[in-house]
């Protein structure tokens, strides 16, 4: 969509060599508390958390071009090398040898009875969803494995826990959901064992211990009015604003999941009494937004996997969403699009058009205004999405969708336009103006006619001596 990062590539080869040589981070570095690795400023360069201060200085995210949408890089071998060595060093850090690596997945999946075959199918799906070539499929599998051991904090703010529910409570979970269940969750209110002070101690401990390394996922909007007091969490009654700020400061990567965390969502709907905002408004770190209501697990896991693969955020669009997932509109890949083009629309719920799966444009589908990959990767065990279920899209991955996409079951042109003091649809307002203008024109026309006749009469009365004035003028015209 927007231009990729065209950065100058000179001398990048050398930098990368350096990285390779002294792998991403040795244990000593991590443990040495004296020289704090990853101070705040360095973290602001948003990327590689797995490295000490000095490493941070050398690795910068322009080191190689990572642009899955068009081409991976100028030198594909180089990218593979980087990704491989990155994965190897992470494996070294999180696992005790090859046996541990192999066993980990067996353990995770045997608990949920997903076969190895299903898992391989899923890696292929995720690889193509990520717009990576198939050569990445085994690497995606390795990254998914590493992901289950990466420290992880999940915060809940003002929300309905819909994303948590969607990820945790599926009848037949897909590998994406399983991985999310098995990531080494250090703090997640809905599933963690500790409670009260213990829970908070656990969170603080994780922040300290894995400073600059943990994955932070935030769900829910953050109220900011009254100093954020609209939302207080935990035994100490800290505000959501404080907690997110403190946690985001030292995170390795920050992900806002769901529309509320990304853009404020429903808590921020007009008139937004609590002053709720999305995560990116309260931290100056880079935030990866995975909006939707709820977000698709594939998109969350895919983003995490890509982060593990290359150690940095994927390419984002102007609204902070990963381009690989959010570069197309639902409308562009909808299986009902043919009916849209053919002018075949559902006119009423349950009519014959609905049974024939005609386009839902006139039933308020917001697919033409919404960027997401629902129509491609799908929800509910990867098998359905709103249009397939017979209801239009409600635009839940766009900012302010509660205000901008309503009414959900009426076409966009039935929405009220936002002009202060006026509550009407664009058509009502337009027709009213048109009527007013018509009345004005008609009045002016009548006025002109009447006035002209009066003037003429006056002419005749007053200037009896040259009453043929008008006539002679007309003759003038003719002769000319």
């Amino acid at each position: 969509m927007r231009k990729g990062n065209e950065k100058d590539k000179s001398a990048k080869g050398k930098e990368i060599k350096n990285n390779d040589d002294d792998s991403f981070c040795s244990d000593e570095h991590n443990n040495s508390k004296n020289d704090p690795f990853c101070s705040d400023e360095h973290n602001n360069s948003k990327n590689d958390p797995f490295c000490s201060d000095e490493h941070n200085n050398r690795i910068d995210d322009t080191a190689f071009k990572w642009d899955p949408l068009r081409n991976i890089a100028d030198d594909p071998d180089e990218v593979l090398n980087i990704v491989d060595s990155h994965l190897t060093s992470l494996e070294k850090e999180h696992f005790n040898g090859q046996k541990d690596i192999d066993e980990n997945f067996d353990k995770v999946f045997s608990a949920s009875s997903v076969s190895r075959r299903e898992f391989i199918q899923w890696t292929a799906l995720l690889t193509s969803a990520l717009m990576l070539p198939t050569i990445f499929a085994p690497r995606v599998a390795r990254a998914a494995n590493i992901l289950t051991r990466t420290p992880f904090i999940w915060l809940d703010m003002s929300d309905c826990m819909g994303n948590t529910e969607a990820f945790l409570r599926t009848a037949h979970p897909t590998p994406a959901e399983i991985i999310l269940n098995y990531v080494s969750v250090d703090y997640m209110e809905s599933i963690m064992v500790p409670a009260g002070y213990q829970a908070e101690a656990r969170r603080d401990e994780t922040i300290k211990k894995y400073k600059g390394k943990y994955i932070l996922v935030v769900e829910g909007a953050i109220p900011t009015k009254m100093n954020g007091k609209f939302l207080t969490i935990g035994a100490k009654g800290k505000t959501g604003l404080e907690i997110t700020k403190a946690t985001a400061k030292n995170a390795g990567v920050i992900i806002a999941v769901g529309n509320c965390a990304s853009y404020g969502g429903i808590p921020a709907a007009y008139p937004n009494p609590t002053g709720s905002v999305g995560l990116s408004s309260v931290t100056n770190r880079q935030v990866i937004n995975i909006p939707a209501c709820p977000a698709n697990p594939v998109n969350l896991v895919g983003t995490l996997v890509e982060y593990i693969l290359v150690g940095k955020a994927p390419m984002l669009d102007s609204l902070g969403r990963p381009l690989w997932a959010y570069s197309g509109r639902l409308h562009d890949n909808c299986y009902r699009r043919g009916h849209f083009e053919a002018g075949e629309y559902v006119k009423q719920w349950g009519d014959i058009g609905a049974k024939k799966q005609y386009c839902l444009y006139m039933m308020g589908c917001k697919g033409p205004f919404t960027w997401n990959n629902c129509t491609v990767v799908q929800y509910n065990q990867d098998m359905s999405f709103p249009m397939r279920a017979g209801h239009g899209c409600i635009g839940c991955s766009e900012p302010a969708f509660w205000d901008r996409m309503t009414p959900f079951e009426k076409p966009n042109l039935d929405a009220k336009i936002f002009i202060p003091g006026i509550e009407a649809t664009a058509d009502e307002f337009g027709v009213a103006l048109f009527g007013a203008a018509g009345v004005g024109v008609a009045a002016h026309a009548i006025y002109t006619g009447v006035k002209r006749r009066k003037n003429n009469n006056q002419d005749k009365n007053k200037n009896k001596d040259n009453k043929d004035n008008n006539k002679s003028k007309d003759e003038d015209n003719k002769t000319k």
Partner: protein
């Protein structure tokens, strides 16, 4: 009005050139393409009216109008959008042609109707007053009268907005590149992404596009009314301008005011 003029005694009728061929071409291209935009645009916004008829939906009140049989034969929305985009191209070209001529036309550039500004504003008020009193018709000469000039300029601003919002909706279906290269969507993004911020997302942009359509419809009716009004009241053949390029004038114009 007649009596106002009558004081000047026998007026001699002069021929005044007002629209070059290119301007006339632009005028009628705009006319045709805007009518086209309104029809196709309204269909896009509200496709209830005409269905690609499949037997089950023959209950549509106007199903006879575009009865094209099977789905694969119909594609009404495709055609409507296609013609909307063709009309859009014509509008763009005409708009930029107009913009160029407004400044660099050798015969009658529009900016002359604005300079010197103070005088022209005054004249504009006089014309407005004339509309409502029918007295004291201001002189009309080689250049457009300031009131019309300002209204036409406002209309072209509406067109520009229509183009910006239209291209924003158009670029929405691109994913980073196009058949002619990445520069094309990139350029459209650069030129029109501000509409997202101003009008509140793509839905707001669409509603704005629809609302401006109504303003344009109002303009058309006003415009035709006022040109007819002028032709009847002034008896100077104003309506002939976009056809033949000339009008008449009874105002005893000085040399530099006429042609």
């Amino acid at each position: 009005m007649e009596n106002a003029n009558s004081s000047e005694g026998s007026s001699d009728l002069k021929v005044v050139h007002r629209m070059t061929v290119i301007k006339r071409i632009i005028h009628w291209t705009l006319f045709l393409s805007i009518i086209n935009q309104i029809i196709t645009g309204m269909y896009i916004a509200y496709p209830f009216l005409i269905f690609g008829v499949t037997p089950t939906q023959a209950d549509s009140p106007v199903s006879g109008v575009l009865n094209s049989g099977e789905t694969y034969q119909a594609f009404i929305m495709t055609w409507m959008r296609e013609f909307h985009f063709l009309g859009a191209v014509l509008i763009d070209v005409s708009f930029f042609g107009w913009l160029y001529l407004a400044f660099f036309s050798t015969k009658e550039p529009l900016y002359k109707s604005f300079l010197p500004f103070g005088n022209k504003i005054n004249e504009m008020y006089k014309m407005l007053k004339h509309y409502f009193t029918l007295k004291n018709k201001p002189k009309t000469g080689k250049y457009q009268d300031p009131l019309n000039a300002i209204i036409f300029t406002f209309f072209h601003i509406l067109l520009l907005l229509q183009m910006a919002t239209g291209f924003q909706m158009y670029v929405a279906s691109f994913t980073g590149t196009s058949a002619v290269g990445a520069w094309w969507p990139t350029m459209m993004h650069i030129c029109t992404d501000w509409t997202l911020l101003v009008f509140g997302g793509l839905t707001g942009v669409t509603l704005t596009h629809l609302f401006i359509t109504w303003l344009i419809i109002i303009f058309i009716f006003y415009h035709i009314y006022i040109e007819i009004w002028r032709s009847i009241l002034w008896k100077e053949g104003d309506i002939l301008i976009p056809f033949g390029g000339y009008k008449y004038s009874r105002d005893n114009l000085k040399e530099d005011e006429s042609d």
